[in-house]
Symmetry: C2
Subunit: 206 residues, 2 copies
């Protein structure tokens, strides 16, 4: 298809598509004439993935570029690629040089050890969780994480991982994992806010 | 305490504190001289709340202002205040005029009816979830929401709502609900990414 049709189908404006092409976020089409290129379903799918990560995942363009680079890097073993893509989904957090921070970070490390979870020392999720715990403690919120660990473990291990095609081509597995993490994450977050509204209506209105 | 001490304890810079005072996000201190005001624990707590919503919840300053206005508005019944605060936590979504959108939105409305959830027609979470479903369908992801509904329902109804002091002052209940929604939401999201890393390591490394 021509770029105009690709734009219509993906609902991404032509100048934006050209920007993604220049930035290497979208692979080039097949050049059929000096000023004309042909695009296919792989381009449409990539645009839909970028759009979902931007709108639903609210990732920055820089993070999406990292995710795409990880999807496309064929020199790394799959687990490393998944790691790179995953780490691009985590926000950057500046560890504080405080006792509060060290205590929260130790709680996170101990939790991971107790659970027997296989998570690298460099995983940005360790600092991300520590930061949230610091804020929760400052605000007097309970840091009993057990119900959240159980919910996350069950959803990921029993539902989401089974949907990832680990035996197919590598980029399909990485793409499925990234999209699953972001989109089901948003689903869960929205449903929690819905449940909050419903429960507080039930408890507070006569 | 003086503004310098408030700044040191909250780790919020003095010009930022002055900005929050000007914007009405932080209540004025007690004026003890022409150029001197005294602050207390309520100011420190408010600054910690703003910081948590900014950093952990990644809310915009505009959304935080709406949340604070809802916390402070004494003319509304609690349930309405909770609703206003809640709706400020939802991102704005533009409904698309497409068949895909209408079908996703109908799925959301049917789900809410089936669950018997008490959610207003205007709740922005309806469009937010519809948007995610449109993207999931375009990308070929399963839209079986049942495991997510169950996880959200259980966490909110059985854990989070019990931690909210509904019988205390109204602003305390609203603040607890907003902070809980945002901070436990981040905890859950981070733990899901950790579980993903651990599970893929387990399934992919020898």
């Amino acid at each position: 298809m021509r770029i105009s049709e690709l734009s219509a189908k993906s609902r991404v404006a032509i100048p934006t598509i050209k920007y993604y092409l220049r930035e290497g976020m979208l692979h080039q089409g097949e050049q059929t004439a000096a000023t004309r290129a042909e695009y296919d379903e792989t381009h449409l799918r990539r645009l839909r993935m970028i759009r979902a990560l931007l709108e639903v995942g609210r990732l920055s363009v820089a993070s999406i570029k990292q995710v795409i680079a990880a999807v496309e890097d064929e020199s790394l073993p799959t687990h490393r690629v998944l790691g790179t893509a995953h780490y691009a989904l985590s926000p950057a957090v500046d560890p504080e040089q405080t006792e509060e921070w060290r205590s929260a970070r130790a709680l996170v490390d101990d939790l991971i050890t107790e659970l027997g979870w296989d998570i690298t020392e460099e995983a940005p999720t360790r600092d991300e969780l520590a930061q949230t715990i610091v804020r929760m403690r400052q605000l007097g919120l309970s840091v009993d994480l057990a119900p959240y660990v159980e919910a996350a473990r069950r959803l990921v291990a029993e539902v989401e991982m089974d949907a990832i095609p680990f035996d197919g081509p590598r980029d399909a597995a990485v793409e499925a994992m990234v999209l699953g993490t972001v989109l089901y994450g948003r689903v869960l977050d929205t449903l929690r806010r819905m449940a909050h509204e419903s429960e507080s209506a039930r408890r507070l209105t006569p």
